[in-house]
Amino acid sequence: MSLAPPHRRELRVTANEALGAYRVLRVAAPDRAPGESAPEPGQFAMIAAVERWGGGGDERPYLPRAFSIARCREGEWHFLLEDVGPGTKRLCELHEGSALWALGPLGRPFALPAPGGRAVLVGGGVGIAPLAILQDTLAGPAPVLLGFRDAAHAQGAALLQDALVATDDGSVGHDGRVTELLARELDSAEAQAGRQQPVVYACGPPAMLEAVRALCAQTGTPAQLALEAGMACGYGACYGCAVPRVDGRYLRVCVDGPVVDASELAEVVEPGAYGEVPA
């Protein structure tokens, strides 16, 4: 696992291009700090624009935001962005030469399959980001199954090679859920008895991850899930990124994840959808 230096670094944007409903932001990778290696698939960085971070209508964003390192290639880090709020909006506006603060690479990466092992990559929406760097890293080919809400978002599939696509509105690819593609893939895998059991690598919205988790639990397929949670720090300092673990305690997504083994969770929950308010 690559270690980050213990301070944020100022990086320059080299490009910001539309990819359907998303943007791909590229930045010049920082010089390696002593002990730092290349970012590993599943790791993320805490990002803030140097200029105009805050001060909008609600004076947010104030804290940095977490983004998967989607690719590390030719001296650049790539990020896939979806504009869902003030922080992502601001980052989507950056252009070549803009400066950003980055702390990272952070977090527990995907554990790569054992030599000769098979991987199945399953992504939903902007959660496809860490699967790109994972695909770049994997030795052999692996099926890539991606779900999107519509055609504009489905263009994001171009971030990976040879992806099978499903859309909620049926406008592109399979008409339905990506987990239906996964069920089919696992079925055929099972059918081909004798071949090694695959490991599922998944990232996407909580409902999708939960469906993947449940399906893999049902079929006894090992799965690694890249989680999301609201984060203030990204390095274990604030305890804000808690998600419930199977034992009833909480894990910190930033340091115990973002990639966790599916067996660590009883369920993937919607952040904000639980949290009973004490009377």
Binding site: L3, A4, P5, P6, H7, R8, A33, P34, G35, A48, G54, D58, E59, R60, P61, Y62, L63, P64, W101, L103, L106, A229, G230, M231, A232, C233, Y235, G236, A237, C238, Y239, G240, C241, A242, V243, P244, G248, R249, Y250, R252, V255, E270, P271, G272, A273, Y274, G275, E276, V277, P278
Partner: protein
């Protein structure tokens, strides 16, 4: 710029606020580079309680104008878990940590503890007293009193009694972290001093709440899993300055100033207002090197002024 805080020697006046820097997790994320320029001149642990606590259900964070509300709920392994699992690691980290301005490695470890009763606190403090690795103890008195619902640190007389009851349990420096959510903070500081505290620290977070935003599920209901939380960051900076100045005017023991510090000028203001030491909290979330950056800048200014 070295300072002495109730018997502890600090290489510079910048430390961390309890619960805002997990040295073990930071060491895991950043490796030994963390210790080469350690952000703080002393390390304050997060709050430890007698029994383990899981913390509050999420969401635990809410970002607001120039501030953060947290509703973390003091997750910790409990006293025993802390002593067995965390303390040896913290001891190692603190021994190799070289803060800005220091020629040699080593920062004092301050352990922050909380209990609902004087007896609980006494047990915690007595246990810390046994540990050579612990240089000082900080009492977090923001725990609600079960009968009144108010923080045990909110009432001066009650606070004096609690501190006096705990004081005999250790000869290590005893710091009382005051609650800001009360009418007369200087009176509480004086009570802590009268009870035998060697220093006071303030401010802790201001009680705050938020509702789920319009587009979120459960819009209009409480956002934080804990119902309410504590506000920190730039939004509370001027409230902190007022409380620190008012307390420093009234007590003889040293004051640790905390609240909204983002850069050297903010630390300078707290020192000018009478604090001996300044702690950085939320700003470390934005940059883990905030503490050493501020310390270096303060030292640089101090040198150019000679």
């Amino acid at each position: 710029m070295s300072v002495s805080l109730a018997g502890l020697d600090l290489a510079n006046p910048i430390i961390n606020g309890s619960g805002t820097f997990d040295a073990i997790a930071a060491h895991a994320s950043f490796g030994d580079a963390l210790c080469e320029v350690f952000p703080f001149a002393a390390y304050v642990s997060k709050t430890i309680t007698l029994q383990p606590r899981a913390g509050n259900p999420p969401p635990r964070l809410f970002e607001t104008a120039a501030g953060l509300i947290n509703s973390i709920g003091l997750p910790n392994k409990g006293l025993r878990g802390y002593l067995e699992h965390d303390l040896p690691q913290l001891e190692r980290i603190c021994a190799t940590a070289r803060p800005a301005g220091a020629r040699t490695a080593g920062v004092p470890l301050i352990t922050n503890v909380m209990g609902a009763t004087a007896m609980e606190l006494e047990q915690l403090v007595a246990a810390c007293d046994q540990q050579d690795a612990i240089a000082a103890v900080e009492l977090n008195v923001s725990c609600p009193n079960v009968s009144t619902g108010l923080d045990i640190g909110a009432d001066p007389e009650q606070l004096r009694e609690v501190v006096a009851a705990v004081r005999p349990a250790t000869r290590k420096p005893l710091i009382v972290k005051l609650t800001p959510n009360t009418a007369d903070v200087p009176a509480c500081a004086i009570a802590a001093q009268d009870g035998g505290a060697d220093a006071v620290s303030l401010i802790n977070t201001l009680r705050a709440a938020a509702l789920a935003p319009a587009r979120a599920a459960r819009s209009g209901e409480r956002w934080l899993g804990g119902g309410t939380g504590g506000l920190s960051g730039p939004a509370i900076r001027t409230v902190a300055l007022a409380q620190v100045a008012a307390v420093a005017e009234r007590v003889a023991i040293p004051v640790i100033g905390i609240g909204g510090v983002q850069r050297a000028s903010h630390a300078r203001d707290l020192l000018d207002a009478g604090a001996s030491v300044v702690a950085v909290g939320t700003e470390s979330f934005r940059d883990p090197a905030t503490g050493s950056r501020i310390a270096a800048e303060l030292m640089c200014v101090a040198e150019t002024q000679m």
